[in-house]
Amino acid sequence: MSILKTNELRKYYGAGPNLVKALDGVALNVEPGEFVAIVGTSGSGKSTLLHMLGGLDNPTSGSVEVDGRELSKMNDDQLTIFRRRNIGFVFQNYNLVPILNVYENIVLPIELDGEKPDEAFINKIVGMLGLTEKLNNLPNNLSGGQQQRIAIARALATKPAIILADEPTGNLDSTTSQEVMGLLKMTTRQFHQTIVMITHNNQIAQLADRIVRIEDGRIVA
């Protein structure tokens, strides 16, 4: 049984001659533990697809199912709560909260859920990502690679059903990119995490188990 499933997913913007079909009937299945890379050029619709998968945006038609639950059937707050429990995000620009220190950023989704973080588990992730020394720092004082590692830790912390990564290395130089990708792959393997990543970089995409190509809002391969 797939952990992530989309059915005839469509997202249209505008109307009439200005109609833009960002997604035009996408069907995607991701199995548990799979590492899928979605590649495409700028404007191909890959970011839109990722936003739909994460419930950050509503489709024009079609459905997204995560772990057997259909996202479009939830209201705003239900979706938010579902997201913090089941979906981890890694953004291109890290999107860390500047006023919270590294540790607080990592446990934020758990705390927002009113839960106590599993300290042993967090320590393990933090250790693997090499952040142990940085826990009390503020994110803005750290390098891009370090910030992205914090974002990965935050995504892993809730043991989500799926991690969605949006150009996780887009802002990093190639050496750091390799390092971050290595860590991402290693940790997801370790914790048997499902991961969907979008990128325009073929070299990065090669690290995934499966590559899905998207062009003009449709899956081509």
């Binding site: 950050l56 913090r84 429990r85 607080e104």
Partner: protein, 791 residues
Amino acid sequence: MFQNNNKEIVKRLAHRSFHTDKQRNLLSILTVVIAVGMMTALALLPTETLQVKKVEEEETPQAAFANLSQSAVSELEKSADVEWVGEQAIIASTETDNCTINTMYVNQPMLKASKLTLQGTMPAKSNEILLEQSFLTYIGSKAKTGDSISLNLGKGEKEYKITGILVSSSADSQNYTVIVSKAFIEGNENADSYKTSAYVRLKNTDKLSDDDLNQVIYSLADKVGISKSDVSIETSEYRMQGKNNASNFCGLAALFVVILFGADLVIYSIFYISVTGKVHEYGQLRTIGTTKKQIKGIVYREGLLISAIGIPAGLTVGSIVGYFLAPKGWNLVNTLWTAAVICLISFLSVLFSVRNPAKIAANTSPIEAVRYTAYKGKALQKKSRRITPFRLAVTNLSRNRKKSVLTLLSLGFSGVLLLCAATMAVSYSAIDNAKPEFPYGSYKVFLSAKNMGDDDFAISRIQAKTPLNEQLKNELLSIKGVKEIKEWSGTPMSFKFPNGRESGGTAFVYAFSSDETKKMKAYVTEGKLDYASMTSQSGIAVCYPQSYKEAYGWAPKIGDPVIVTLLNNKGETVEHTFTVAALLNGNYRQDGPYLWMPIDVMNELSGMKDVSDFEIIADGQDQEAIISSLKSIAQKNPYLEYDSLKNMTEELQKSMQPTFNMIYILIAFISLFGLINLINTSITNLLSRKREIGTLQAIGLTNRQLNRMLQAEGLLYTAGTAIFTLTVGTACGYATYRILKDLGMALHYHYPVIPVCIFIVALLIVQIFISAFSVRNLKKQSLIERIQEGE
């Protein structure tokens, strides 16, 4: 070679920035308009009221001459120094229909000076008269100008022709005035027995000092052959006000400083927040080659644009308000002058408040701009603390401490001003002010000088006739409900202070008994209130010494000699030197800046019992019946008046209401500053955090939690303001009360509970409104748009 000809581009960038930052500029302009408008109105008000007084003053006499012959009057009229002469003679007093008709002759200037409005013409023939409208109403006559009426004006019932009707504001029920012509006097067989009084106003006296004016008056009297004892000098409120100009000006200047400080704080924080929010933009400009000077120029220019719109608008609003506050006193030259001065100081103060933000903007280095983060706080070391919406809010406020402190300061500043003004307003209680006039009871019957003409010692002359006697006391005690009569003493006296200044006219001096000293001792601040020694050594007690310093430049000290003059039972003036024995800061009765002396000393000097009031203690059953009994007693005796605690309280409340309304309007405006600032801070805060809030929502912050976080931020501001207001504000409020009290204002400290509650509740409401607005504003953009903003 590298001439920086960049005026055009700086101008363009400033204008562009001005138009894109609409919300910020609207708030800044609004602040300028409020501040400038308020200052203009406040600056115009005193000069306008002074102008109104000056106009009224020109219709007011400066001296009165009594017991004149006709030749003396016409000589006065011919004198070159005299502006106008008001002539007045009392001819007869007759009783008709249970009322008294006072027949008088007055000329046109006198009529004007008496503030009587005449509808018709002055009487000329001996059978022509002027009547009061209220008299016609009283006798139930529908007579109009031109009609005839039958009256007894001391020559038996006769027909008189009404040439005009007087509309007077005073509605003294049982005393009416009928004005006759000069021909009426001349036709009278005993014409010479009517003593005429003349009220005189002199030419070109504005620049004269009080002493010089007195000199001129006495020499005029001498020239015409009027004895010094028949001369009385009228004190002028206008002239006294003119002398107080310096303290008026200081008060106004202090008020301006407060308003400007408030407005500057708001503009400063609006600009500061805007500039720190735009560091990125300035950095980019710097990167592509904008010089520091140019960036400074851009920010200053925005300040100029705000002034260019806000100041003229504020001046217009202020002038219009100023006009409506006192239309009679308004004049163009005065308004233009005021506007010019305020324009200059407000312009400078806007530039001043923009200075620091402009410097911050100019000092952004290109590199810094890219990395700029406003959060300079330290990370919390403890990692065990839970992250809740409330904690996020606290951390948010500490993100830019300076900004939070600025907002809190300007909110707190409003709160402090509110407490100062409100403490003053609520500490004035009409009943508390009326009560010292009625320390034990609720009614009183007291001596009235209103039928005595212009005589400083009228009360003393009445006291010699002992209208407040045992017979009256028994009559009062026979009224149903009346339980006890308290007798109070006091008499008018004039003073010469140790610095040589004279009181000019008389003031009432109250007497106290040995029994009362115990009660009065509670108010003594200096010296000793000892009845026996004050009696043997002619001691005098001074209430509110500070007010004597204000009025006469004399700061009373223990041992200072004060020469008093009073009238004894034979009508002779008696002079006696007293020594200041005690200073008081209030009193349980007649709470005001009065002098007090032992009753035995007063009675001995005057040679009679100087009873001035009968205070009536009654049970509260039938107030109306008691009042109507007192009314009929007062009607029978022209030297008596009555008053009640209830009536006096109402009158005081009515007379103070306009002042308090002004104070509350001022408070409302100042609170507006605080609210403008709060709205600006909250909205800018929100806009600059759109992406961050988006991230929080993406990783799981629910709408409810977001709402709670934003509300907590607002609540923290409210709590901070409330604490500041309640501590610093309360202290400042009490200090204001103390200062005003020492200046002799009759205040009784009360905490302004209701205004403070209203202020805090208003803050809370605004904050709830802001956080609701914020959530709605955020929903306008999708999560994605917000997360990607600024990429």
